[in-house]
Each structure stands twice: as C-alpha cells, then as structure tokens.
C-alpha cells in the first residue's frame, strides 16, 4: 500500500499495465518526455521507452484515429487528450469509428482503447479548459464512460478500462488531481465498470454524484450534520449506468437528487431522473431534483463560481428537498 493522490494512482495504473502488457501504448500531446501538462504520465517514457510512451503532433484526429488502427492491429492504445474541451477535432474519430468499429466489422475489430482526458472546472483556467461533456459520450452507443472520484477508484477503474475489450472514455476530474491522498494497493486490482458505489448509507434522501462534485456533495452532507440521513452514491460509471443501485436507493428513501458539474439540459441528471421515474415512480415523495450548472457557457474564472455548484448550494437544495411535503 502507498498513499497516492488521484493523479498518482492513474500514473501507477498506467505504469503497471505498461509493465504487464507489451501491447499497451500511452501517448498524446506532451504526454511523453515531460509527462503531460499535469504530469500524469511522468516518468513513464523513461521507464517504458519512446516507442510505447510518446509525444504526438497537435492532432487530436490523428491521436484518436491512430488508436483505431493500433487497436485493429493488436495494440491496446491509451491516447490522452490534453483537456476535454479540445477533443472536438478528434470527436469525429470517437463517435464515428471508435464507438462503431466492433459493430461495423461484426466483431472482427474490437476497440480496446482507453481515451483519457482531464475534465471539469474549478482550476481557474482559460476558455475551453473547464467543460464537463459527459453527455456527448454517454449518448453514443458502443462507448463506456467512467469517472473516478478517489485515488482507489482511479487505479481500479483505469485498470478495468485497459483490460476491457471495448472502448472506454476515462474522465479525470482535474480539480482533485492532487486534492488528497488515499491508500492504494500496489498490486493490480479492478473496480468493475458499470457499478456505482454507495459512499454513505442513509434513509431520508438519495443523492447521486461523481467526479469532483462528489466531494462538494460530501462536504454539504457533513455541513448539514446529523439532522439528515442522506444516502450518497458515487455513480463512477456514467455509461453503462448502474440503474439498479440508484433505483434500490430511491425505493428506500423516496427522495432523489442528482448533482453534476455539467449544464442542466440533457445532462446525465436528465437520464437518471428518467430512470428513477421508470423504476421507482410510486416510491417518490417529492419531485426529483437536479443541482447542476445553468445552460450557459462556462465563464472565465472571475465568474466561474456562479456556474459550478458548491457545497453551500448543494446543502441548500438538500434541505429544500428533504422538507418537501
């Protein structure tokens, strides 16, 4: 066991899989020599060589399109997109090829690709460095989308993603890259894709969140004290969604809230509420609640606090939902 940050746990998982499987390659803009702009891949090129851990031209379509070819020819590529807001020139490859090649070739060319990208706000960055674009991936059949909120899950989910024979989009909540440390086992382990985690059991209200927002929600719950019995679920995998865990919880509590960083309309919260309605309609005691960013472009840092919800806002909304009669 070692105490690692979320960033350190990702580095550890990459290092371990590069070591164990010679078909794994890690690459992206500045991902080789300097170890990425956040240093997630630091030290990996030195250890595993320039052919398996490498820098690329600033070409998102080539970074993701080449992954299609590498996967078709037996590699397990792990391309990095420097910031999720810059993935759009490569989105074509994700949506039209990475997600479809298994289906198109009737299974001849599966796509064991993990696309890593830092996402989310709260780091006082320039435009295009703060988006939460879950919906753009969860809406595409053929893709899986995971988001760790802890170092333990970061390593376990990434390991599972690398071993998965289908493409996985791996969002890294950059705000909490180095926020805290956690004991992370040295040995290989997997956190199963498609399984949510009940962070805290409770009986009055269910809150679902993920990524950096999970920690804001935890803070809100802590601030509220013992007056409220809240069940907190870390969704961990956005697609395929663990509907069962969420439904079982809402059946117990009768109240449902989703907290996410992404904008409201057609955010993952919309899908969660639809599923709650389908699966626990007669158990609901209040209308389901979405606590999200408004439907506007992420502002520059001076205005970001009006966009991202924080613990105070979450606590406020929890109280309203808990008291609804």
């Amino acid at each position: 066991m070692a105490k690692l940050t979320l960033l350190g746990a990702i580095n550890n998982a990459l290092d371990q899989q590069l070591e164990k499987d010679k078909n794994v390659v890690v690459y992206g803009e500045d991902a080789g020599f300097e170890g990425g702009v956040f240093r997630v891949t630091k030290g990996l090129q030195k250890k595993h060589g320039k052919d398996r851990v490498f820098d690329t031209p600033i070409s998102e379509a080539a970074i993701l399109g080449s992954a299609v070819g590498m996967a078709a020819n037996g590699l397990r590529p792990i391309p990095e997109i420097q910031f999720s807001g810059f993935m759009f020139p490569g989105y074509n490859q994700i949506a039209v090829h990475i997600a479809r090649m298994r289906n198109r070739s009737r299974g001849k060319y599966p796509m064991p690709i993990v696309v890593r990208m830092p996402y989310g706000g709260g780091v006082r960055a320039l435009e295009h460095h703060s988006e939460s674009l879950e919906t753009l991936f969860a809406h595409i059949p053929g893709l899986k989308l995971v988001i760790p909120a802890t170092p333990y899950d970061a390593k376990g989910l990434l390991t599972a993603a690398i071993k998965d024979n289908d493409p996985v989009i791996y969002f890294e909540p950059k705000k909490i890259y180095r926020a805290f440390k956690q004991e992370v086992p040295e040995e290989e382990y997997e956190v199963p894709i498609g399984k949510a985690r009940i962070v805290k059991e409770g009986s009055d209200l269910t809150v679902v969140s993920w990524g950096a927002m999970l920690h804001e929600t935890q803070k809100a719950i802590k601030d509220l004290g013992d007056d409220y019995s809240i069940e907190l679920i870390d969704l961990r995998t956005i697609a395929p969604m663990d509907t069962k865990t969420v439904i079982e919880s809402v059946k117990k509590t009768g109240r449902f809230m989703v907290v996410h960083e992404a904008v409201k309309t057609l955010g993952i919260g919309s899908e969660l509420i639809s599923r709650v309605n389908e699966g626990a309609f007669f158990h609901l005691e209040a209308q389901p609640t979405r606590v999200t960013a408004p439907d506007i472009t992420v502002p520059l840092p001076k205005g970001e606090h009006h966009h991202i919800v924080d613990a105070k806002r979450i606590a406020h909304e929890i109280k309203k939902l808990a008291h609804f009669e």
């Binding site: 031209p57 070819g69 590498m70 020819n73 298994r102 289906n103 070739s105 009737r106 024979n165 395929p240």
Partner: protein, 362 residues
C-alpha cells in the same frame, strides 16, 4: 530511385504503358510473373462486371446505393498485386477492386451494399479494414495500423486510399503527417478521379498536383498514370520496399477517372460533359492491360469470351445467394455493439422481443 525521376512540382507523371498496351518506359517495367499478370487482369474484369451488374440491381431496387469503381481498376489492382498477403488495405469506399484482390469475397462485398454489416466481416487472415464512409478519416487508421506494425516488428506495411476530394480534409493532413513523423510503413494512394462528387479537382486545392503535398511532410510523392496498372504496381512496390526498410511513408497520386457516377444517387451529366467521359473511355485501364497481355501472348479472344461468360455467371449467382442469405435477425441488430451486452441494453432487447411477440397478428 524511381521517385527521383518524377518531380510532382513539374507535373512529371510516371507511366510505363501506352494506350495500345505498349511499353514506353522499359527502365521501369515491373517484373511480374505470368500467372500474377493474368490474375490481375481477371480481378479487374471481375470488379468491372460486378460493378455493372450492381448498377442494374440497384436500379431494380434490389441493392442500396453504392459507389461504382469503373475506370479506377488499375490504381487498385496494381498496388494490391505489389503488396504481400500480410500487408494491410485501409480503403475509403470506392475500392471494390482492391478489396476483391486482397481476399474480400464478392459475396461479402455485395452483402455490404445489400445493407448488411456481415459484409464487413472479412475472413480472419484478410488484413482489410471495413469500408470507410467519413471522408479522410481512414488515413489516421492506416497510420495507427502501421505504427503497431512497426512497434511489433511484424514486417507488415499498410496501403490506404483516399480521393482527390479527401485531400482537402484535415484528417488527410493529420494522418499523413502522423505517419511521417514516426516513419511508419505506410503508403497513401490518392485516387485523383477528377471530381469530389460534382466539385472539380481545381476547387480542392490550388496545388498543381496532389503528389507535391508529400514534400511538406518530408516524404516522397509521385504522380502516376492511374489507368496504367503496371506503373501503379511499380510505384507501389518501390514505396512498400521503402516502408519495410524503415524509410517511412510515401504518397502516390494516381491520375484516373471515375467513368460512372459518384454513387448511384448521383447524376454526373449535370457537372461534366459526355465528350470528357469519352476521352477517358479511350484510356480505359482494362482495355490497355488486355492489349499488353495480348502482346505478350498471355491473352486472346477465346480466353476473353470464356472469362466474360464465367464471370457474369459467377456474379449473378453470388448476388442471388446474397439475396437469399442477407436478411437480418434481431440478434444481428443488438449483439455487436459490445463484447458483453450491458444490462440496460439486454432489457431493451427483451422489451423489443416481447413487443414482437405481443403484437403478432396485429
């Protein structure tokens, strides 16, 4: 080296066969054994007949819209004949002739245009990627396949195709550049068939030739008579040797002409003159190659008649087989997006099957 003799900036085009099938460039006539020459010719004829028949089937409403290959057989068969079995083909969507030569069966090729993904499930030992519809994106796949080949030291090289229109796309630039940076074993063949649907080549780029774009990536580029199967063979052979020696990618511009429409939904008479088409018919790649084979006593009228008759029968029977076996079940719809079907999708499939059962007779 071949590429040093033809400067794309001066519009120097490489060719070895004239219109009458005579060798005009003895220095670069490829050394191909007789059996291979005949096999190349037969595959060109198969592709042509399959194309003509498919056009009929499509007009009869028995096949989907498709992209005819007529006129471009030489720039596909030459390169494929120059490649090894283990070399990869990464097609765009008008490479039926190349695919047939590389081991995709006519049944599979037809099944795809019939509307069934099973037509893209080629045999395991056939290194061909499925037909790629989004323009230009296949070049990046080729770069990745070639990167993997280099890393694994597999000895494979990759040939990818793109059209003249596709070279305007950012993915063409990114893919060729990516391949060049890492010196991967990759050959990019631009089939310059003069039109991107209706848009003429002059509106794709201000560059004099498409081959000259190679110089900006630091790789060799050559313009080749794309209706000359021997020249296409030779240029590709040299490019593949470079690729396998670790010298990196090559860009080949094949100057050719699409004799048919862009797809069966297109009416080319709107944007090009029949006299232009007639000029290119005179340069038909199959006729030229047939004359060459006849001059070498490898081909004659009797053989031609027999081949035409047998091929037509084969093509007709293959399509009948496709019509009989190409139907689609519910499993075919649901079972291929994931290795293991997620629970949500299982529930959706079950709900649909239940609906089918409940609604029987409605």
């Amino acid at each position: 080296m071949l590429f040093d003799h033809y400067d794309p900036l001066k519009k120097e085009m490489f060719g070895v066969l004239d219109k009458d099938g005579k060798i005009t460039n003895k220095d670069f006539e490829p050394d191909i054994d007789d059996d291979t020459l005949v096999h190349m010719y037969k595959t060109m004829v198969l592709a042509r007949i399959a194309d003509v028949k498919a056009l009929q089937y499509q007009r009869q409403g028995r096949m989907l819209t498709f992209a005819p290959v007529q006129g471009q057989e030489a720039c596909q068969i030459g390169p494929m004949a120059a490649s090894a079995k283990s070399d990869w083909l990464v097609p765009a969507f008008r490479e039926a002739a190349a695919m047939l030569y590389k081991g995709v069966s006519l049944k599979q090729a037809y099944l795809y245009w019939f509307g069934n993904e099973r037509g893209s499930r080629y045999d395991d030992d056939v290194n061909v990627m499925p037909i790629n519809v989004p323009i230009g994106s296949q070049v990046n796949h080729a770069a990745g396949i070639a990167y993997a080949a280099k890393l694994k030291k597999s000895g494979e090289a990759v040939i990818t195709y793109i059209g003249d229109g596709g070279t305007s796309h950012g993915e063409f630039h990114e893919g060729v550049n990516f391949g060049a940076v890492y010196s991967v074993p990759m050959v990019t063949i631009i089939q310059n068939n003069q039109y991107a649907i209706s848009t003429p080549r002059e509106l794709a780029t201000k560059a004099k030739t498409l081959a000259q774009k190679a110089s900006s990536y630091g790789i060799p580029g050559i313009q080749v008579d794309g209706n000359d199967v021997l020249a296409m063979y030779e240029a590709t052979k040299v490019a593949l040797e470079r690729a396998k020696n670790g010298d990196g990618p090559t860009l080949i511009e094949a100057v050719t002409y699409r004799l048919g429409p862009h797809t069966t939904s297109d009416d080319p008479s709107i944007y090009r003159k029949e006299t232009e088409v007639e000029e290119w018919r005179e340069k038909d790649p199959i006729t030229r190659f047939k004359k060459y084979l006849s001059n070498r006593k490898l081909w004659n009228k009797d053989k031609e008649e027999k081949l035409q008759e047998e091929t037509k029968k084969f093509v007709t029977n293959t399509f009948k087989e496709v019509e009989k076996t190409g139907q689609y079940g519910v499993d075919d719809v649901y079972d291929y997006n994931y290795e293991t079907m997620p629970d949500d999708l299982k529930a959706q499939k079950e709900a649909y099957l239940a609906y089918l059962k409940e609604s029987e007779g409605e």
